[in-house]
Structure formats: structure tokens, C-alpha cells
Amino acid sequence: MRYILTSRFDIKGDDVTGPGNKPLTSASFFVLLGLSSGPKHGVGIANDVAQRTDGATELGPGSLYTALKRLLQAELVEEADAPPGADADPRRNYYCLTESGHAALAAEATRLSQLVEITKDLRVLDSGGRS
């Protein structure tokens, strides 16, 4: 089941330019979501996403780091110092959300919640997926 879900990250048209523009890809959204609770390294983001979705969504190395690269280029994410008490593995880089990143996450969350409202109005969930 989890492998089917991860295939949704294949969404195209993923040019991240900030709030009000194109929607974020699922991978980008999950990365931003993972960083919303504070600076994390790549593996930490992947673990956080898996934990929050109860293992239903996993980010593979390709999905995670191309999304991170994309977000770094769009300046929604930036490199950060390791938080106090974090392990000092030199291989790890820490990332945090920029202001634009926070705004983009909020905009995407708003968009998704609006979508949920629409589905509620249409009673999509009540009909068991049939309209």
C-alpha cells in the first residue's frame, strides 16, 4: 500500500515559485511540512514524514533530495546550523524554512483545506467515494 502512495510524487509541473503560483508537489509539501516543526536534516525529514503519516508515505532518496534541491533553489528552504543537542554527524546538513517557505506551506495548506471543504460540500466522503 505504501508503495502505491509514494507513486503520487510523480506529479509534474512542479515549478515552485511561492504562494499564489503553481501548487507544490506532494514531495515538496511533505518536506516543508517536515521542516515546519524546526530545522532537520534530510534523513530527519524523511523519518518525520513517515512518522506523521503512520508509515503510509515515505520519501525515497531521489524524491527527497531533488525536492530539497528544488526548494533550496526557490529559496523556500535554506541551510541552517545544527540545533543544540543534535548529533554531530558531519555528513548531515540541516535545513529550515525561510519566510517564503512558511508562506508557501501555509498557502498550500489553505489550498488543500479548501479542497477538503469542497469535497465535504459535495458529500464525496459520505457516498463512499461514489458521486
Binding site: T6, V43, A46, G62, T66, K69, R70
Partner: protein, 853 residues
Amino acid sequence: MLDALLRAVIRAYPAEFRTRFGAEMLEQTQTSRPNSHLTPSLGRRRAAWLVWDAARHLPEAYRLTFREGHYGLFGEAVQSLRRILRSPADTGAVAVLVILAVGIVTAALAYGQAVLRPGLGLPDESQLVILESEGQWSRADVEMLDRGLPEVELVYFNGWGHSLVGVGDAIQLRGALTSSNYFEVLGVRPGIGRLFLPADGLPGAEPVVVISHELWLTHFGADTAAIGRILDFRSTFHTSARLVGVLPRHHQPLEPDWKVWTADRSEAGSDWADRRFRNALGRRRSDRADRGDLAQLTNAIATLPERRERGASARWVSLRHWRFGDLEQGAELFALAALAVLGMAMANVVMIQNARQLTRLGDAATRIALGASARRVAVGIAVDSCLPVLLGAVGGIGLGHFLISLAPHWLPGAEQIRTHLEVDWRVTAGAAGLAVVSGLLVALAVVRRSVRLGLGRSIASARGGLSRRWATTLVGVQVGATLAITFLSSLLFASIANLSRVDPGFDPGAVLSMYVYASGDEYAEPETATALCSAIEAAVETIPGVLSVGSSHTLPLTRERWSLRVWRADRPDTASANYRMVSLGFFESLELALIDGRLPDAAEPPSDEIRVVLNRRLAAPLGLEGRLPALVESDLGTLRVVGVVENSLQHDLASVRGPEALVLAEDLPWPVAARYLTISADRSQLATSEVRQVLTAVDADLAVSRIVWLDDVASASISQVTQLSLLLFGLALAALLLGALGVWGSAAQAARARRREFGLRCALGATSAQLATHAMAPIGRILAVGCTVGGVLGLLGLSLISAQFYGLSDSRSLTASIVGAALLMTITVAVVAAWVPARSASRLDPMTSLRAD
């Protein structure tokens, strides 16, 4: 395996991406599979998913990296391309040099291969050898040797004449009588039908023949139904034979004029079988040839009855050498000269490339100092170096093809080589590969130097230029190669001039030769054959304009020769000589000058002795002066020496006049009525058609062929040497051009590097002449290196090709003058090439040159 695959996929990510995320990506793949050892199948599925996830994001990773401005190796290559387009002159110079080098070498080696050693197109030709010795080999000899030499498979063959009747006009054909495994050992496959089978060589088997593709086209209309037809051949051994096969179109016979091959069916040990075969050919079972081969051969020959004396002189000779002779060495020299020209061009390319890339040394060092990877910088420089070279290589292949297509229009005798003229792709690929490798090496050298020197010294070194010592040495070697090639080419021309002045001892322009063959059964006896030849000579002598007529079994001034050992019964030593069976009229027709004794006379009473006339060179070691007539022993039996004639050139012009025995054919019965007529005549009065008419009147079935004046035969005999010298001359011109270019480039680079110094000298009052002298200083070192290298290369080349020189060993003054002329020409070209940039440097405005730095 999946883990390894995953690591490989991650390694395929862009370098910049890996630098940033690679370690974390690997960490993630390891930490995300904590329990895989407990559930192996789940672990494998998970690993496969990780591989897939990493692989499908590869294109995006490249796109993101490229968008960020980290071009990587590809971007570096793009930048180099832009740089090349910005300076097309430099790129063009390199490309033109490579075009010339690859084109000239491709064409030159194709010509050389076609003219000098076209090869026979046989599989594993290097394994084929001819057993060479004094005397002849019989079928019994060859069969015994074949059993005694397990490392060699032996066959025998002999050139033979056939008259083909019943297929259009009667035609005289040359061909070979061979053992039945002849084609099998040569590795020839049939074009149509079949070749010989072992059963074809058994005594009593049906006579079978195989013909050339050309004969099948011209006389059988390319009709496949001709296979199986009984053909009426007139030769000593059979009058009819079944045509069983046609050779393939491109088969090259061992002798160019062979068109018919007959399988020998005679019984081993019979008288005829023992006398008729002269050649034994073998195929080694491997390419390896060592001293043991010769020892084995000597031992095997020692077991032959009455052949022990041959063991000392017998040796294996490669089939190519046997077929193409001394030209084999000429071909080797020519190939070496062509490679030297390629090397010179490549040296120039390296020098120009080095000068181009040196300007990037400081830039490369700066980038490496700022953290750019040396690999990336090297890729940029390599593209910059290799692209012009690649363009040049492609253009060079085109130029080579063009030059080859021009060959038939200017090269003498090109008609003969047209079929052999083809591009050797190994040569082309080698030359182009060498050019590309030189480009790569220059790139690597620049990067290595910038890494080694560091930033500051790299920038300083870029100003200083290429090590002058190395540059002048490299150019000196080029001048040396030019000197050697020019010298050898001049020697060959002098040799040809000598050959064209050779006095053969008779006037070849006044002697007409033709091959006459009587196919009638009545001439199969020695007496009737000899009588017919006498009748032919008598009839031809009556033609107006004919002064005298003779005949010989081999055509004068060609390489057709039979060998003979002669010795005196009272002396232990023997003399080797060529011998020719001639008629009484032969001496008069060639007007050979008698210096001792007398010429044979037709009025002499018949005797069992074989009369012979020796030339001075053979008579001298036998000590026969003033003792004629005298009896001597020979392979043919006892000979009665009746006279001694002046040395004459009986064989081809390129051969030295050697010891010669002219054996009277009337005294040595030979059951074949086939002779070369030698007709001394007034060229303006004699019509060959009239000779034909007279011959037809003697016997309507006489086949007449190869009608030619002997001066044309003499010219043809040196045509290959002429072609070799022309080709070498072409290479000498190319070498002169490249040598001049090398000297010019080196001098120009040195002058550019010393521009500031010249500016200062000029500002301090130095005259233009003094500056030019300073700028010319490196030419001394270049010429010193050039003369040394040229001397060594010239001597090496001389040892390879000395067999091609005629009349030079006796004339040291001529050789010295040729050396002087080649030296003068090379030095003049080098000095002029160095003077041009030196003159420009001496005329620089000091303010301009000081500011420019």
C-alpha cells in the same frame, strides 16, 4: 546486488548534487532498511523501490543542477566550443595540419601498398614461404620434404605454357602445373565450380584445369555452363582437360600472367616429374619462424637422395619477398618515411596546441585554486584540443580518398596498380587516433602542469612559453627527418638516372622480341621442336629489315632466370650463375662482343657435348682465359665452353650484371617448341604484321604473343623503382613543408616570448640586424640536432634500401654531392623559415612591444 546498483545510481547523479547530498542519500538508504535481514524478501522489495526512486529522479537532478549554473562536464565542453568559435584561425591551423597529415599518410601508404607490395590477397600470407636454393626441386623431393617437415605443409608448382584451341582463335596462355593441394595450401576458395581435389593428382586421373576469372569473362562469356566442358589444351602433358572451376575475381596469381592451372598427375619419381618442378611452396602452421626452422630444413634436405649439397644453401623466403623482391625493403622504407611525415605533422600540431593551451595555463590554475575540479578543467581543455583535431581527421580521410582517386592520372604505370589501390582503414584510424591522442595528452599536460606549479608559477609560466630546449629539440628532429627523406629520395633519383644510362651490352631498341609456341603433337619430341625453331628463325630472317634472328627460352631483361652451378673437374670450388638456353643466332641478334674463343658454329659435327658461351664474370673465377675450348662440369652435365663474351645485361635493369652461361639449346634436347624470338632489325622498316604472316606460313597453329621491343621491356623493369622514387619525392616535399612549418612556428613562438627583451634591446640602441641575429639564435641548435638525427636516419634508411640503388657504390663523389645537395636544401629551407619571424621581431616598435607585456 541491489545495494551495489543503488550506489551506482547515486554515483550517476551530477557531481555538484552528489557533493551536496550524496553522503546523506547513502545514509538514508542504509537507515531506512533496519530490519531487512529479518525479512529478506521485504528487504529486497524495499531496496528495489529505493533504486527505482533514485533512478527516476536522475533527469530532474541534472535539470536542477544545470539551471543552477553548475554546468558540469557538459557545460565545460559547451564553453570550450564557444572559445573555439571565437578564435577560428588557431583552430583552422591545427585542423589544416591534421588534414594534411592524415590525408597525405593515408594516400601515401595506399600508393605504397599498391605499387610496392600489393600483396596476393591470400589468407595468412605471412605463413607462406618459398623453399629457395640453388637448383630445382622435383615432385619426389617435395613429397619427401613434406613428410620430414611437420611444421610446414609443402606444395610444388611450375610456370608452364598452354595453347588453348577451339575457343575462338588459338591463344597462348601462361599458367602453372601444380600439385593437387596447391590451392588448399594457398587458402584459395573457388569462384565458380571447384578447385583441385586430391584425386585429381593421382596418376591416370582425368586431366582437370582451373582458369582465372578474367579468362572466363573474355573467352567463355562468363557462362557458368562452361564448367565441366572439355577444353583442347596443347601442352606437353595433355591435349584435353576438363574445366572444373574458375578462380575468384580478385585472386592474384603468383605470376601476374598466369591464367590456367593444371593439376599434376605424373607419377612421383618418374623422369619428367623429377625434372620439371622448380618451386616448392609451403605454409607454416604458425606465424612463428625461428632458427630451428632452418636447422630442421637442412636436416630434412640431408635425407634426400643426391641432394645433400643443397642443404647448405637452402632457406625459407617469404612468398611476398619471393614475389616482390627487393621492393619489399623499399616498401618498408616508404612506410617509415610516411610515418615520419605523420610524426612531423603531429609534432607541429602538438606545438601549436601547446601554444594555444598555454595561454589557458594561468586560467586553469586560477580555477583549480578557487576550487574547480581538475577533471572539469581538463575536459574543457581536452575539447578545445581535440575538436580541431577531430575535424582535421575527418577532413584528412576525405583528402586521402581524393588523392587516391587522382593517382591514375599522374603516377606512371598506375593502370597496373588500380586494382590494388585501396584505403587501409587501419592506417587512417591509426593516424586519426594519434591526432586525437596528441590533443588529449596536451590537455592533460596543461592541467597537470597547472596543478603542479600552483597559481603564481602557472601564470608566470604561461608567459614564459613552452620549454625552449624541448621545442628546439623537437623541431631539430623534424629537420633531421626531412634531411633523411630528401637525401634518400635524391639517391633514388640518381639511381634511376644511372639505370637509364646503363649500357646493357647490346641495343635493346633494335631488338624485337616475341613468344612463339607450337602446340602440334608432332613437336612433342626434342628433335622436331628444335627443327621447328630453326625453321622459324630461318623464315623470319628473310623479312626485309631483319638483320639477324635468334631465340631464347627466357625473355631478356626480365627477372625470368634459371640458375646453374658450374665447376672445373680439377678444382673444388663451384661458381653459381644464371643460365639461358639460346639458339645459334642469339649471339648475333644481340651483337654480343666476343672476347675469347669463338661462337658456336652450325657447321660443327654433332656431338654429345653441350656447347656453352660464358660471360667474362663467370669465366674469370673458373680461370678459363686463354684455355678455350675447355670442359667444365655443371648441374646440366659436362659443358664445353667454346667462347667468352663481354658482360651484358641479360636480366632486368635493376639487377646487377652477374655471371651468365649461354647454353646452346640445340645441344640440350627440350621437347617443347616454345621460344622467345630475338629479332635484330631496323625499327623503322620492320612491321610486326609481316612477322606474323611469315610465322603463319611456317605453321598455321603457331601461337604468337608478347610482341615487344626490348627497350620497352627495359623501361618496364625499372617502373616500380621509378614509382618508388616518385612517391618518396612526394613525401620529401611534404616533409620539407612540414619541417619549414615547424621551424617557423618554433621561431615565431620564441620571438613572441622574447618580445619584451627585444623591445628593451631596441630601446637601448640595438639595430634591426642585431635583433634579427638574436632571434635567429635557436636555429643553430635546431640544425645541429637536425644534422645528427638526419645522419642517423639517413644511414638506417640507406641500409634498408641499398638494394634499390644502382651505380652509387662505385661513385662516392656522386653520393657525396647528393648528400651535400640534400643538406643544402634542408638548411636553406630551415634558415628561411626561421628568418621570417626573426625579421618581423627585429622590426617591432619598442614602445608597442614593451606596452604589450
